[in-house]
Structures are given as C-alpha cells and as structure tokens.
C-alpha cells in the first residue's frame, strides 16, 4: 500500500543507497556468496511458470548486487548451476541454459551493472561440461569485462565444491609433476590458489535462502573456516535489499565489537 504512493519507490531506492554508503564507512566484507534457493517454490506458490520464478530471482539478484557493490564488497559469488543440476529434466536444463545465456547477454549489452559499477564477470566451474555455444558466450562476457577492476561477480556454472577441490588438487599435482613445486612445499595456500576462487579474497559471508540448512556442495573449502554463515527462511525472490542490509549491518557490528574473538579464529 505504502509502495503505491508517488515517489516512494525513488525515495526507498535513495534510502538504500544511503544506508549502503553508511555501511561502507565501517568494516565491510570483501567477499559474499549466495545460494539463491527458492525460485521454483516461489513460482509454484504463486502459480507462475518456473521460468517466471527464475526471472524474479534474477531481478532480486541485480538489486542485491547493486547494494553489495555500493557498500564496498569486492567479490560476489553466486551458485547459478550445480553439476548435480544436470540430473534435472532435459527440458528444465535446457531452459536454465537459455536463461543464463539471455541474462549474461543482458548484463553485457545493456551494460548497466557492468559499466556503472565496473564489474568484472568471472565464470567459475567445470567448463568441459558446458554446451559449446554457452561456453563461448561465457568467454565473451569474461573478455568484455576483463578490464573492470572495481568489483567482481563470480558466476558458478556448472560448479560443485568437491569438483573444485579435485580440480585444485589436480592443478597442484601437475605443477609438482613438472617440477615447479616440491611436494614438501605444498601448503594450504598452494591448494587454495589452484581452486576456482583462488583469485578472490577469503569468503566473509555465505547466504543461503529458503530455509535450507546445508551447503549442497557449494564453497565447502571457503566457508568451513572463518566465514559467517546465514541460513535465511525467505525464498530468494522475496529476499530483499533491506534483509541484505540487516545482514551486512550484523556482520559490521560483529567485526567492530567482537574483534578479540575474531582474532582467535572463531567469531
């Protein structure tokens, strides 16, 4: 009801930018990851097409990305497609691929997010499992935004964390085989730098929506140590910017006042 008042939308959007700017003056997480669960349930509950649910989800994502970058977050990682998702019906896999292609084209061409925020797009995951045309489009998006340095959007597609760890281990073993590193010199950092997220700062916050309390093979290595984990009950399309602001504020508060605990490695 309130939202029908003239000018209120503009006021709200100005308000959220302001809050983001305010948050940016304190401790800010460098890397936030999302499991955007609940698009399909959202569609089912409202008797919409699954496709529309995904589409609502994307709108929600665009707003939240804007907010994160306004607040000074450097890296945002989203779980767009799991390797396990290939188990879905061919029709839905097909439709998800099409949506991904569409969205990526949208991001690159309209250039809103990418240009305005200087966002670099990186696609993380097992490229060999992708259809050729999708893989090519991903490459194009990555090259186009390569020069942007302000912030990064990591799109995990198709990804699982175990596949990532295995990929990391293979990379290190290859280096060792070539004599570039002695087996005895291999450390946690060596392994971490060979993973898909190797170029990103350490993960600070992991958010999963729709009340599911598990990782489902996402960012296991990144989130089991030092990351703040939020399991949220709302479905992803309903997960709004204000909810996100509350989480950022909570993190900022913890970082500023529970600092002594953080130093012990468990905050």
């Amino acid at each position: 009801m309130l939202s029908t008042l003239p000018g209120i939308q503009g006021f709200l959007s100005w308000g959220k930018t302001c809050v983001a700017r305010i948050l940016a003056t304190g401790p800010v997480p460098r890397h936030v990851a999302f499991v955007m669960d609940g698009n399909r349930r959202y569609a089912r509950e409202r008797q919409l097409e699954t496709r529309e649910g995904h589409s609502k989800g994307f709108e929600s994502l665009a707003q939240i990305l804007e907010l994160c970058y306004d607040a000074g977050v450097e890296d945002v990682t989203v779980f767009a497609f799991s390797i396990e998702n290939f188990k879905r019906t061919p029709r839905e896999v097909e439709s998800l691929m099409e949506i991904a292609k569409e969205r990526l084209t949208q991001i690159c061409e309209s250039g809103e997010l990418a240009e305005q925020y200087g966002i670099r797009i990186r696609v993380l995951g097992n490229r060999s499992l992708l259809r050729k045309d999708v893989a090519e489009l991903f490459d194009k998006a990555q090259t186009m935004t390569k020069g942007h340095t302000r912030a990064t959007l990591n799109i995990c597609f198709p990804y699982t964390s175990r596949d990532d760890i295995a990929h990391g281990i293979r990379g290190v073993v290859r280096d060792a085989e070539k004599g570039e590193i002695e087996p005895a010199d291999i450390t946690e950092q060596t392994l971490a730098s060979h993973m898909y997220t190797g170029n990103s700062p350490p993960l600070d916050i992991l958010i999963r929506t729709s009340g599911v309390c598990r990782f489902s093979d996402f960012m296991l290595w990144e989130s089991h140590q030092g990351a703040h984990i939020e399991f949220v009950d709302t479905l992803w399309p309903d997960f709004g910017v204000w909810r996100m602001l509350a989480i950022l504020l909570k993190w900022s508060w913890r970082k500023a006042y529970l600092a002594d605990q953080a130093e012990q490695g468990n905050y």
Partner: protein, 301 residues
C-alpha cells in the same frame, strides 16, 4: 594537520583503501560514520533482545525435554521421528578449564553424554566429535575410552552398549578388535553399537594438503596421472583417512561457525544450530533430530 587528524580519526576496523583524501570527503566520511555508530548502537539493542529470546527458548527446551538418564525415555522421545541419521557429527567447544564442566574433563563428560543419547535413539551408529584444538588426542585413547564408558554407565548400568573410539589422524582405535592375538568378543569387534570418531582441525584442510603431497609424489614417480585424480578417488581416500560424510551436524556453540570442520565431509550434511546456546544439552540434541526428520533432501533437483 589534516593528514594527522584524518589518520587519528579513521576507524581501525574500516578498510584503509577508503580513507578520505581531502577535507570535504573527510567531513562526509565522519558524518556517515557517526550514523553507522548509531546503527551499531541500535543493533546492539536488537541483539540483546534476540539474545534474551534465545535464552528463554533454550531454557524452555531444557524444561520440556529431560532424559532422566533413562535410555527408554530417549527412545520414546525419538519414536515419532520419521527418520534419524546413521552418522551424527557434533562441534563442541573446549571450555575454560578453571570453570565447572570445563577443560578436558568437561569435554569427556560431554562426549559420554552425547554418546549415551545416541545409543538411546537406537539408530545412530556413528558419532563424529569435532573439537578444534584436538586436545583429547594427546591423551591415551584407553583412558578416554574408560572415562566415556564410565559416564555412559550412569545411563545403562549393566546393559552397557558396546562402543569403539577411533582417532583418524593418528590411526589409534580402542578396542582394536585383535588385542594380543586373542579373539575378542564378537560383539565388540564388528557390531559396535556406536563408533566415536575424535576429529580436530588437522583432519580438515591439512588432511587434503597431505593427500595432495602424497599424490604429487606418486605423480613424480610416474605411478599416477593427474587426470586420474577424480572426485571419487579423493572421496574414497577421505572416507578412509578421516570419516564418511555425516548426515547431521549439530553446532553446540553460540555462533554458527564450523571452526574448520573437515570441508570435504559436509557436502550435503544438514546443519543444526541453536543461536546463543553455550552448552551441550539434551533439548538441543533432540531439537536437531526433529529438524533433521522434517527436512527434505533433493540433490540437484
């Protein structure tokens, strides 16, 4: 003068990259930062209210569920649950040794309590206990076994279930099943009612790094090709070197923090956490089992 004031007033917790460079942005920054401090103050109040609410809930749990050290009561409490985990993991914190129920003794007491509850459910066959520092691992496993058994005896008396404790990292286990070559009781050999795995930080990333080292040496010796290192190969190794994947993980600390729990093993694990809880209690244990029974697993779908 400006630079010094700027550096003096800039909050240490904020990102140094965003330090204002001219007087105008300096003023803007401090106006906004003051608002942030007001926000923090407001959040402190919210946090306090939440804390009180959580504590009341935990208190309520303690009143409504009690085991009275009777296994029958525990099995009655879980009778209505549609499913129970076969493998349960818990994260416990080492409390300050000078306080009551703290230190290594307190930790062992907690483990024996949880073990007793697990046996009471009749379904849980494996219990992985994660304590970050691994302080228990420096003790003789037989002594730990004795203490855990003693604690469980207050529940089971003469009908003690058979338990086994193993420490994956050192390879120690008790009972081993073949002490001095004499055949031990079959019951304690294969069919333990409960196997307790003691885990700590070294079973996490460190274990994966060690595996990488071993695989690298094999590759250098031409006994293995890098492309043969698949998820299945690593999984098999991790199951052998540490533990298999638990179905439910209960975090008994005030904050949802995995503290370095083995990452490979939490792929689909259901995680239960009671905010602001600071003790290992039966109420939280039961709540976790209830929430596990009501969740739906659909991999990828």
């Amino acid at each position: 003068m400006f630079t010094r004031l700027n550096q003096m007033l800039y909050p240490s917790s904020a990102n140094p990259k965003f330090m204002p460079s001219d007087p105008w942005s300096f003023i803007c920054f401090h106006v906004l930062h003051t608002v942030l401090l007001v926000f923090h103050l407001a959040y402190s109040l919210v946090h306090f209210v939440q804390y009180v609410a959580h504590r009341i809930k935990i208190r309520g749990l303690a009143i409504s569920y009690h085991h009275n050290r009777t296994p029958q009561l525990i099995s009655h409490d879980v009778a209505d649950l549609t499913k129970l985990p076969n493998h349960l993991a818990v994260i416990v914190d080492l409390q300050d040794g000078s306080e009551e129920g703290g230190g290594v003794e307190g930790l062992v007491a907690q483990i024996s309590e949880i073990a007793a509850w697990c046996c009471g459910t009749g379904e849980i066959k494996q219990l992985s206990v994660y304590e970050r520092t691994g302080c228990l691992k420096s003790y003789n496993i037989k002594d730990v076994y004795k203490l855990v058994e003693e604690g469980m005896r207050s529940y089971y008396g003469s009908e003690m279930p058979s338990i086994k404790i193993d420490v994956p990292h050192s390879g120690a286990a008790h009972p081993t099943g073949e002490s001095n070559g004499k055949v031990v009781n079959r019951k304690t050999d294969n069919k333990n009612d409960l196997t307790i795995h003691l885990l700590s930080e070294e079973d996490g990333r460190e274990c994966l790094v060690d595996l990488t080292k071993t695989l690298s040496e094999l590759a250098i010796a031409k006994k293995l090709k890098p492309r043969d290192i698949t998820v299945d190969v690593i999984d098999e190794q991790m199951n052998m070197l540490v533990v298999t994947e638990p179905e439910l993980l209960i975090v008994f600390g005030p904050q949802l923090d995995l503290q370095g729990f083995p990452p490979w093993q939490i792929r689909l694990t259901e995680i239960y956490h009671q905010p602001d809880n600071d003790a290992v209690t039966y109420g939280v244990f039961l709540k976790a089992l209830q929430s596990f029974a009501s969740c739906k697993q659909n991999v990828g779908k």
